[in-house]
Symmetry: C2
Subunit: 668 residues, 2 copies
């Protein structure tokens, strides 16, 4: 039998095969990364290749021979149904007839990369836990008493080389009907290469996964196509646990005061997850039955409440987690079996420590400080700041008790980021007059038409990023001293500085309500920023660096604040401003990475295991750093060049780094 040489690009893998060998078969035998769901039946079109375009001479191939079998009727049928570009062939239908160079385009590779928008982060290789396999199953007859499952397993073995599979009970319950409805052709979903978790009649080639960041305030979900990695729908909800307490500790207190309260909160968050899953599926036009995987991240309290674990121990020293390891669960274990496929699997990222949760692990997976030579500081600000510092040699983590001031709580005019909230502020250095922008309106407050543009919503308060900016501007304008005292002497220059008891305040907006920055507000932000700074400083000291090479600010607060102002106020240690980046919802991105790439799960588990956990509460140096960091700016003084900055960048978008696919956000 004569043979032919085939070279696959871009891998360069090559080999000789008998004339008449299918290209897909040759690719598989050479270990070329080429996708297929239908197992070579011209149904899925995943195995497309480019032919006739290779630079033959370069590969030592004479370009004159007849190389491939002709375009088949089957391919024609596929082309008319689903389209097939010129120069493309289905490798499962194309036979080798001479020496050829075959190009495997990126979308035909199993382990294709999802491009992320930020250049500095790693791309995601698609390799989900759940894979699809179309099979033709032998019909039973009186001479073959094996069960339907055993014949399905044989098909998986002979048609997909998948050995030793088991099947979930719900699969067995629906198997006979699926096989008969599909005329003995079905598509099986296999989890982890060893467990059949779903069987659909006939051919199915799309399944989906849900990546969810369960925050104390909002829950954000992305529905991803597990084949392309694309986000097909996104949505967010207020965390319904808010009715049990605004912040984490008040929810823990609720449980302490109301034994069994954790059961209510667990039910509330699970219902919210179920409704989010249904919502994103509906928006993407996908049946919830096709959601086969989910990955959840959240801070330790959210993590425990999601799992139905009483968070009481997290409310007091020694802050013992019930567990810190990652978890593999079934949808039914979290009561989510009706909001996704009954066979869906759930992965929960590991927690790092008692106050550094699975959300922080998600941030680490997204930002990969553990892959870099340079020393990164990764900060996720919530009620606590979760801080990770390090590089590929060593990683440290701690949480720092910033309190909720950065989220607008415990600030006189403060509110959560929502329409009507002041988010940007500028103060004229001469007149000391402010101008601001509010969420939901594109105009500055001193621009014509502002009043009409904000309409009935009006100016309702000031959110975290607005507080940072107004304080930094007050400081830069000399209204607030280094020590954080609102200077009563300024009352002579502007009527906006007004006495308030024995201290002074600055009137930012004279309306209904009036929005003032009081001395108490300044103190609250001082305490928060000192805690954040002291936590970072403590880790730097443990690591043994004076300065960090890179700062990543994760989470909603990190995305909203202007990094320049953050450094003016001394929230974060000195760093080249070009190396300070907003990482968007990095926790959610980490969840998405773990959803799309199974190896990422083991990776983050191993990374978390080697992170050195620092407990700020028992570090005497923490108090010292904290006290030293109270002033504006902090003592290093190296922020000074920033005061010269005159052109400040325009506010960044709230949206995270990845904008692929449709997405929708609610601001809660």
């Amino acid at each position: 039998m004569s043979e032919a040489l085939v070279v696959f690009t871009p891998s360069g893998k090559r080999g000789r095969f008998p004339v008449g060998t299918k290209l897909l078969e040759a690719a598989r035998r050479l270990g070329v990364d080429i996708d297929s769901v239908c197992g070579g039946r011209a149904l899925c079109g995943r195995c497309q290749v480019n032919v006739g375009e290779g630079s033959f001479a370069k590969h030592g191939i004479d370009s004159s021979a007849e190389r491939l079998s002709g375009f088949t009727a089957t391919e024609e049928r596929y082309r008319s149904r689903k389209g097939l570009a010129a120069g493309r062939r289905l490798s499962c239908q194309t036979l080798l007839e001479g020496d050829v160079v075959i190009d495997v385009p990126p979308e035909s590779q199993v382990h294709k990369q999802v491009v992320r928008k930020r250049a500095e982060v790693r791309e995601i290789a698609i390799d989900p836990m759940t894979t699809l396999h179309f099979v033709e199953v032998q019909e039973p007859d009186m001479h073959d008493p094996r069960g339907d499952l055993e014949r399905l397993l044989e098909a998986m073995r002979t048609q997909w080389q998948l050995e030793g599979l088991s099947a979930d009970l719900h699969v067995l319950q629906g198997l006979q009907k699926a096989l008969r409805k599909g005329a003995w052709k079905v598509t099986a979903a296999v989890h982890g290469g060893n467990r059949i978790v779903a069987v659909w009649p006939g051919f199915t080639d799309r399944i989906y996964g849900l990546a969810v960041d369960i925050g104390s305030t909002t829950i954000a979900a992305h529905l991803c196509d597990l084949a392309s990695g694309e986000v097909v729908a996104s949505s967010g909800l207020m965390n319904p646990q808010i009715r049990f307490g605004e912040d984490l500790m008040s929810r823990v207190s609720y449980v302490m005061m109301n034994p069994g309260g954790e059961v209510e909160m667990t039910a509330a968050v699970r219902e919210a997850l179920a409704s989010l899953a249904r919502e994103v599926a509906k928006e993407a036009g996908v049946e919830t039955d096709k959601i086969m995987d989910a990955v959840f991240v959240g801070n330790p309290v959210m993590h425990h409440l999601l799992l139905g674990i009483d968070p009481t121990e997290l409310g007091g020293a020694p802050f013992a987690l019930a567990l810190d390891s990652a978890l593999d669960l079934r949808a039914a274990e979290l009561g989510l079996q009706d909001a996704m496929n009954r066979g869906a699997s759930i992965y929960v990222l590991p927690c790092i420590a008692g106050h550094v949760g699975a959300d922080a692990a998600g941030v680490v997976l997204s930002e990969t400080p553990y892959l870099r030579d340079e020393v990164s500081l990764v900060v996720d600000v919530g009620t606590n700041a979760e801080i990770v510092l390090g590089n590929k040699n060593k990683l440290l983590a701690c949480s720092s008790p910033t309190g909720p001031a950065f989220e607008g709580a415990q600030i006189s005019g403060g509110q959560r980021a929502a329409p009507g909230a002041i988010e940007r502020v500028r103060i004229d250095r001469e007149t000391l007059e402010p101008r601001f922008k509010v969420i939901g309106c594109d105009l500055w407050s001193d621009e014509a038409g502002f009043a009409e543009a904000i309409g009935r919503t009006g100016v309702t308060g000031i959110c975290g990023s607005g507080i940072i900016e107004v304080l930094a501007e007050m400081f830069l304008a000399g209204i607030v001293s280094k020590d954080g005292v609102i200077d009563g002497g300024m009352a002579g220059r502007t009527a906006r500085v007004q006495p308030e008891g024995r201290t002074f305040s600055y009137l930012l907006h004279d309306g209904e309500p009036c929005i003032r920055i009081t001395q108490t507000d300044v103190r609250a932000i001082q305490l928060a920023k000192a805690a954040l700074y002291a936590g970072s400083k403590l880790l730097m000291e443990h690591f043994g660096v004076e300065q960090v090479d890179r700062v990543m600010l994760a989470g909603a607060f990190g995305s909203h604040i202007d990094t320049t102002y953050a450094m003016v106020l001394g929230l974060i240690p000195d760093c080249d401003l070009n190396k300070v980046q907003a990482a968007g919802n990095a926790a959610g991105t980490g969840a998405r990475i773990a959803l799309l790439n199974r190896a990422a799960r083991r990776e983050i588990e191993q990374v978390v295991e080697r992170i050195e956990k620092i407990e700020t509460a028992i570090e005497p140096k923490f108090q010292q750093h904290f006290v030293e960091a109270m002033a504006f700016p902090h003592k290093t003084g190296s922020y000074v060049h920033l005061t010269k900055a005159v052109t400040l960048p325009e506010p960044k978008e709230l949206a995270g780094e990845e904008g692929e696919g449709r997405r929708r956000r609610r601001r809660g």
Copy 2:
């Protein structure tokens, strides 16, 4: 450091260890099979040994030395609390000080044997799937941010050498409270050596398992102590599915006629199992929380309905099972989490073929024909007869459509075995007068006081074993011919033979109701016994034997019938009568073996896989054997010597072979 020699009997394992080594430690290092739940803390008393009794000289040991450390205060405390026989020591508290012979009594061995009453069957080595491990867990502190689970896992690793364990979600949910309640001492139950399925505060040393045979008519459960193998309570219930149809096929029909009917039947059988579990636990004084394992067997229809699988496919050719493999499940998957520990595991034995179920697999596991040189015929009679034939080289199985006549159904005066049913019959060869015994009364009907003894129950009908006996007696007395015709000529000798239309009947009992054996009844039994015989014959032909060496009759019918009469009628092929045995509820015994010994599960799975399945419906020879077997006695004629038998054995007890522990039965 000086060393000492220790020899353990009965294993004979020996080795030298430093003086001061604990006996338990020495035993472990030598691989001596010695039990412990408390890990050497003198709590469980499982590691007791006999000292000072060995024949030292035989083992080359000089008997003069001081050999062991003295009896400790800890042992004294154990003795006063739980008792400790003279000459016994706790090996975890006893140190080696010189050369010794140490005897490990059977009850201290992990893999102790459970003695079965029948000499011909294999004993059961105790080696359950779930094991108990007492551990002391390190308390959390601010310097150790690991979760409670991770500290428990470390304790399991260092104190029990158990690596790579995972924990069920419900364990995590209760872990923190258990650890604190137990003051950081807990007992963990580990399933399969890799999964923590329960954690109790403090020390626990007894867990239990449930072995259940789910019959179409009755469900029989045994609660076993997983440490001793002892049956601590037994109970039975009518299968509540009876309200959907008396026999299997009428239940399958119910589903065909009432789509979704399988859901009701599944719920019914699961509720019955839950209530049985609670009942046996209550009777044994055991909390259901301590039931950690269950094994279920049942025929294919029961098997499918238990699992929530629509049995419709079993109702028609090609009789495809949804699956035939064994299944490992969690209690919650069958809705049984509230009737046993939430972490309990369930094992369902494999089915052999479409009509040969997991109950037959249980029978095979109990009777082990696959371990014998001799050829065994194993028969379990229900609505279908499940027949297995073979030896260690080859096994065959089939089912044969006997219909329900052997169970008393479709017989004019027939009923299930229950008080009032005639179960034994003798007919005087001269007078043709009958005498009989009914269930629930020790007297024969012709003995004085019979009428008073049966009391208000009266004689209600005739059950399977009674039908066999009356027919055999009628045949032996000449009332029924070889061809199964009731001889009208006998009407001249006895008024009990009476015309009935164009045929005759025999009046067995003249009362309310009258119990007659009609020509139709004889035909029904002829059809049933011909089917049973033809199935056996077909397997013998496939195997290539003319005669079998041994017959095991399993199940209630097999226990009730007198094997002599069974052979008179030709129910079973010729065999030495001494080699025909009732195996009791062998299906239930098989379930119990799989419950107590994990290796037995793999064993029966492998055996079932190599059983050759014969489908009687497509074997032309089956029809031929069937027709030939209609006559009394069948054609081989070799039964003839039996007609000389005059002393027939007394009826056997209903109870199965194993009578250990308390047991209770209801007759349904």
